[in-house]
């Protein structure tokens, strides 16, 4: 699938553990999806480089050092597991900061070009990447939103993947997650912006009068 050994740069970034979770849906509501999809999350557990620093601390220097290595390592696993950038249609990202950290620390590792731009580049997308972030104890699941990597408003690709690291983040760690899917929801059939009829409270009031 992919090597267990990360790059020396990824090790230098302080990664303790990498957890890859992939899901293949064969039946949904008893029926095989018309478009079968693989969905995966790759999560890196890294040491929080800003532990013990105050809210006036500049986060950019460490983000610049660490985030690109995490982006490369995580997308490498998604690409290998899901069949390459051409197979991947949707993406998302997330971070969980441990309880000794600041929520801004989670944001610093995913909401800057040092992570987001590279994930987008490696997965060959153009959309803004949707996200979730949280501060939690180890073992807390996080639902990661995904949407289409080039057409973010494509409703069929609105979906989520649940990521979880059993023993992370420790209080002094941050879990950084990249997520991707090779297709839409199993039986996507709720239309799209192009097919929606106009809906307002007034229109609905008229429809039910």
């Amino acid at each position: 699938m992919f090597s267990s050994n990360p790059s020396p740069e990824a090790r230098a970034a302080g990664i303790r553990k990498i957890v890859y979770l992939q899901e293949e849906v064969l039946l949904e509501n008893g029926t095989a999806p018309a478009v079968p999809a693989l969905k995966a999350t790759a999560a890196a557990v890294v040491a929080n480089p800003w532990l013990g620093t105050g809210p006036d601390t500049d986060l950019s220097e460490q983000a610049k050092l660490i985030a690109p290595q995490i982006a490369r390592e995580l997308t490498g696993r998604l690409l290998a597991g899901l069949g390459g950038a051409e197979a991947i249609e949707a993406f998302g990202k997330a971070a969980i900061v441990g309880t000794a950290g600041e929520i801004e620390h989670a944001g610093a590792l995913i909401h800057t070009p040092y992570f987001g731009n590279l994930v987008r580049e490696f997965l060959d997308g153009t959309s803004i990447i949707c996200f979730a972030d949280d501060r939690a104890e180890a073992g807390q699941p996080l639902v990661v939103p995904l949407w289409h990597k080039t057409q973010a408003a494509t409703r069929s690709h609105y979906q989520t993947a649940t990521a979880r690291v059993a023993d992370g983040p420790l209080p002094h760690e941050i879990v950084v997650i990249a997520a991707a899917s090779t297709g839409p929801r199993p039986h996507a059939r709720i239309g799209d912006r192009t097919t929606d009829r106009p809906v307002t409270a007034k229109i609905l009031a008229g429809a039910t009068a």
């Binding site: 050994n5 979770l21 899901e23 293949e24 039946l27 073992g139």
Partner: protein
Amino acid sequence: MNVRKIITLVEDTLTEGGRAVDPAARVAVVAAVIENPWHGQGFVEDLAPGIDATASDLGKLLAPRVVEALGAPVEAYGKAAIVGLDGEVEHGSALIHTLKFGDHFRIAAEATTLLPAVEKRAAAGTVFDIPLKHKTDATIRSHHQSIEVRLADAPHPGEIVIALAAAAQGRPQQRLASLSTEQ
């Protein structure tokens, strides 16, 4: 056999106890979420027909996948059956505690020992730990380990989660003396 989804979990440990683990230690799990073959049938006295219809196919489905996910020779292994709330623990045990199931993994892993197992009844999203032991000598203490698994939406009440786990090595910083030193 109706399989709703297949989940692959690959966990690589790069450091443990503050020290590098090099090469990284890998444990892989592949789980199938299947319809409980006895769902809705009340108390079924003879489980053999259901076992015959399901267990071997399950082993055949999961064994090559977990070996591939590990990407290295298997050194330790284990298995799991998590039965949804409408079923009996015996239903899960029926599917995994048979050579028809386990031999697929034993052959793929070139293993000889019995597979350690966890089996329980639980709601979807339950956390379970799969125990692993060395594949040819279950007394090799360095390889006693477990991996924690959680599937967000399984098992449903009428389902069973069946999983295989494989490790490419013992515990990341294993340093206990062998069992024989205590004898």
